[in-house]
Symmetry: C2
Subunit: 298 residues, 2 copies
């Protein structure tokens, strides 16, 4: 994708290899982003800076050559970065923006990776410095566990990426970011509104995590995996979740999420009724429709 | 596993390679069993017979060399088989046993692969011929789609196998069957009662399929996978289910299944309450316990 004859994307007239990139938060996503950006740079120049409150994480990333410089505070890092990835939990991200708004480099491009977009877009529309540009984003990737230690397991290859651009975004910045996202390995990029993102994500991501958690919550037998044949394992892999982050996401998006839980409970009730009634023909038909619908989604 | 110096398991004094094996029903599981048995025989002798009402399926299996002879009725096959695998939906299986009880070879060993054991054990205990032995079983394996066409995708490697032996089973037959199951690639074999099997399976298998079906049932947007990041895909892969078979399993085991759905709904309600109340600390704690419990199950 980055053949020598292809000049690659440019940000504010600078080619990719001349840019200084900053990553705020070297957790699972920040770590995976750093690794993907390192690969996107290839053998070229360009610098990747990162800040994190955990010194061990910075040392580990420096040791792996994934970042070029590590900072325990954004203060020294932000003024140097042409592009900043905010890889923080929503509440930390909002506090970060408020506290460090003055520190970003003149004209910098900022993006984030949080799993909820409504409150972030709201904060950015209210408080972003005039000279800055902020394109909210959400990479649809993850891995069990969490933290930088699991970042290598978090593959971006062919994954979905959602962007919820703002009216004020500069078109050339949006094009640059999309080009960079593709270089990081992602597949389909979808542009939508923050509201639509939060509604859809409440279903594909948050509801699924609530269900997985409820499944584990209602079963005490640790030996239950003896009776597993794949479906239980599939449905509960994501129950090994980052509890503080998902707590934030669930509560922050609770309006959409509660509606989705209600819809799901409605379908579950309907299936339960057919099972209880022994209504074989209706159940077979309903399951057949489910099968066809899922196949059409694939 | 079948080195020449290892004589391998014996059934009624006959070594594996001298046995005639019969498979009733060449669907997903019957087909996968035939393939695994062919591999278990290795380059040795031994015959694999199969009966199925679909001539195309038999021709396909013959063409692939997976079976040696195909029959469209069990009448000619059963009298020749030392061991018979019944790979049929529960209701078909019960009718099969009733209709063909007289046709089995004197002293034959029979096993089944149905996903529910209570009604099958009951029928066997009532109606099995004195000279026959029947060891109920349930391989915890599967694949999307179904039928012989998908059998190659159904891997047994390292998978769980549940046996619910009867008091009347001959110990040497049980040992033989377990040895053969391991040769077919399965990992852990668990022996339990039919009642315990049906209770556990209601959770690990049936409840998971009901949940996956409800998830698809409550969402009409075919483009929803644009917003998928893995969890939605994980939770709904099994929604591409064999509707007639799962209808039977759900209804046949409805007492256990309805209890499990209720328990799951209870946990879901509890999580919903915490989300609605914005009870971050309690939610974080509960999700943390879920995470630890799931990790201990792995």
């Amino acid at each position: 994708m980055s053949a020598p004859e292809n000049p690659g994307p440019e940000l504010s007239g600078k080619p990719l290899e001349a840019l200084c990139l900053g990553i705020a938060g070297l957790g699972l996503m920040g770590g995976a982003a750093a690794m993907a950006l390192r690969r996107a740079f290839g053998g070229r120049r360009g610098r990747i800076l990162a800040c994190d409150t955990g010194r061990g994480v910075l040392d580990s990333a420096l040791g792996k050559g994934v970042i070029d410089e590590g900072f325990d505070s954004p203060e020294q890092m932000l003024p140097r970065c042409d592009l900043v990835f905010l890889c923080l939990n929503p509440s930390t991200l909002l506090r970060f923006l408020e506290k460090w708004m003055g520190a970003f480099k003149q004209g910098a491009l900022i993006t984030d990776m949080a799993g909820i977009k409504g409150s972030i877009v709201e904060a950015v529309e209210k408080g972003l410095r005039e000279d800055l540009d902020f394109i909210p984003g959400h990479p649809m990737a993850g891995a069990e566990g969490g933290g930088f230690a699991n970042a290598e397991k978090c593959s971006f290859l062919g994954k979905n990426y959602i962007l919820t651009p703002l009216k004020r975004n500069r078109p050339e910045n949006l094009e640059f970011l999309k080009s960079l996202i593709r270089r990081m390995g992602f597949g389909r990029i979808t542009e939508t509104t923050a509201a639509e993102h939060d509604r859809k994500i409440a279903f594909t991501s948050q509801l699924c995590h609530v269900i997985a958690a409820a499944l584990i919550d209602c079963e005490g037998d640790r030996e239950i995996t003896r009776f597993g044949g794949g479906s239980f394992e599939d449905l509960t892999r994501i129950a090994m979740l980052n509890a503080p982050m998902w707590t934030e996401l669930f509560i922050e998006n609770k309006e959409c999420l509660l509606e989705r839980i209600d819809q799901f409970e409605g379908s579950l009730e309907a299936l339960k009724k057919l099972i209880r009634a022994g209504a074989a023909e209706e159940l077979r038909e309903r399951l057949g429709r489910v099968r066809d619908r899922r196949a059409a989604m694939a």
